[in-house]
Amino acid sequence: MIEVLNLRKSFGNKIAVANISFQVSVGEVLGFLGPNGAGKTTTMRMITGFLFPDAGTARINGFDILRNPVKAKANLGYLPENAPAYSDMQVRNFLEFCAKTRGLQGPSLRKAVDSAIEACFLQPVLQQSIETLSKGYRHRVGLAQAILHDPPALILDEPTDGLDPNQKHEIRQLIRRMGHSKAIIFSTHILEEVEAACTRAIIIDRGQIVANGSPAQLKARSRSAGIILRLAEENQTSLCSQTLQNLPQVHQILHENNSLRIRPKPDVSLHNLSLAITQTLANNPTKFELLELRIEEGRLDEVFREITTPDTTQN
């Protein structure tokens, strides 16, 4: 649905986006993460056709954003950063303007505007001019504008920025609901948001993709992610460690007090790792008596810090 092909952009000497490619299909909600200045907004601006890339392109629903921009944009809803809107217009007039410019008219226009108003809870402010709105309402107006033509692809640049926790929750729910029938990309700084709303996440750093996977897969890359194993007989611990050491799924085994922390190789889920471990132990001639076997999911913020901080050595 959304295909990003080798996008590249530099501003003067600074490389903002260095060769980014990925795809999002219908039913996926892709969280777009990265530190400030990593190139998130620049990438989104190129996908939506606002900014011309130095090289590469993007396709929306099969339409190339550079060669067929009008068709591609018709298939796309976009909430730009800070949700810009014509501040002198009333909310309803603004949404009607967007719908008309997108070619809607008559009953279908009214229906589109009404359902966007309902989805974004805008009824109380319809007659207000946009400059008088609070930040939360402004964002919701921007979101309403992005979804009113029911586009198959949706790109949202920090949709929950500046909202209070209740509003954030509502918007995440809305994104999750829409994710069933659309391809959605949204950028955020808030990592819980990724777990709450995304089926997949991409982390970019200095213009490059440094991680791409489901929130669970990403979390598995964190330092604390792993299987915690504790044996009844403590003196068997190192023997057990040697037994498991050679499993193809195992990346590293750490001894912590009386237990083992077994970390998976990248791309191995904790679930598969735990299966492999239990099987190996069951088939092993030495009978290990397990006191505890527990999956410890990692933490997204840990992964984020590890792979986006330049000086950290990856392990």
């Binding site: 501003f11 900014l51 068709k71 730009p80 809107a85 014509y86 217009m89 008309k100």
Partner: protein, 245 residues
């Protein structure tokens, strides 16, 4: 065509939701009446034509056209709505044209509201109404040319004041290049042919025959090419802005 119409309407309405349109119309109409009647002594001349009225148009639009055109793109840049506008399923020239036409409409409304001037002339005598028509045509083309320049200067900056000063400066050059006090001065320094060549670039040179009732296609072509230059420059600058905002 439909997106063009929708963009045009929004742009036109936005002039009236802010005080810009009203202030512009009031000032324009006041000055358009004040200069010919009190400065040029329209009533004392005893001639039923509108020359004193039209001869002020280049000066009025020199200042007032940048005032209505300065916000066209700079305001979009300042508010960030340019990102919204250019990700709607429209072609860039839809937006460029819609904005330009909306600004031209304000100028057209202003000119139409000067209708008491020709009525007065017709009441007092028998003016050449053909000349009045070409005078109005010339005034509108003059305004449109200045607005097309304001369109491209406004895309250069997010600051409306800079946009205003730039388009005023370009407009001033186009007026002065053919203004007799300046051309008389230039004759001392350059050959007559060169002075004539420079003067032929001037708005004054081409407006002069229109306000006298001479409908020359070359003058019309001059204004139309000036407008085309302004709009194409807008498009080029818009593309460069989208490559490097």
């Amino acid at each position: 065509m439909k997106p063009l119409l929708s963009l045009y309407k929004r742009e036109l309405i936005s002039y009236f939701t802010s005080p810009i349109a009203y202030i512009f119309l009031i000032i324009f109409l006041t000055l358009a009446g004040f200069f010919p009647l009190l400065v040029s002594g329209y009533l004392q001349r005893g001639e039923a034509d509108l020359l004193p009225f039209f001869s002020w148009m280049p000066w009025l639009f020199l200042i007032l056209a940048p005032a209505i055109g300065m916000r066209l793109w700079s305001e979009e840049r300042r508010q960030g709505t340019i990102e919204l506008l250019l990700t709607l399923p429209i072609l860039p020239w839809h937006a460029i044209l819609a904005k330009f036409l909306a600004a031209c409409s304000i100028a057209a409304i202003a000119l139409l509201l000067t209708f008491p001037m020709p009525l007065t002339a017709n009441y007092l005598g028998n003016p050449d109404n053909g000349a009045i028509l070409t005078g109005y045509l010339g005034s509108f083309l003059l305004a449109a040319s200045n607005l097309s320049i304001a369109s491209f200067t406004s895309i250069l900056t997010r600051n409306q004041v800079i946009s205003f000063i730039l388009s005023l400066t370009i407009g001033l050059f186009l007026v002065l290049a053919g203004w007799p006090p300046i051309t008389d001065l230039l004759v001392n320094w350059a050959s007559q042919q060169l002075v004539d060549l420079i003067a032929s670039f001037s708005i004054m040179y081409h407006f002069d025959s229109l306000q006298r009732g001479i409908l020359d296609l070359r003058d019309i072509a001059y204004f139309l090419s000036l407008i085309a230059f302004g709009l194409i420059s807008t498009s080029v600058l818009l593309n460069s802005y989208r490559s490097n905002p």
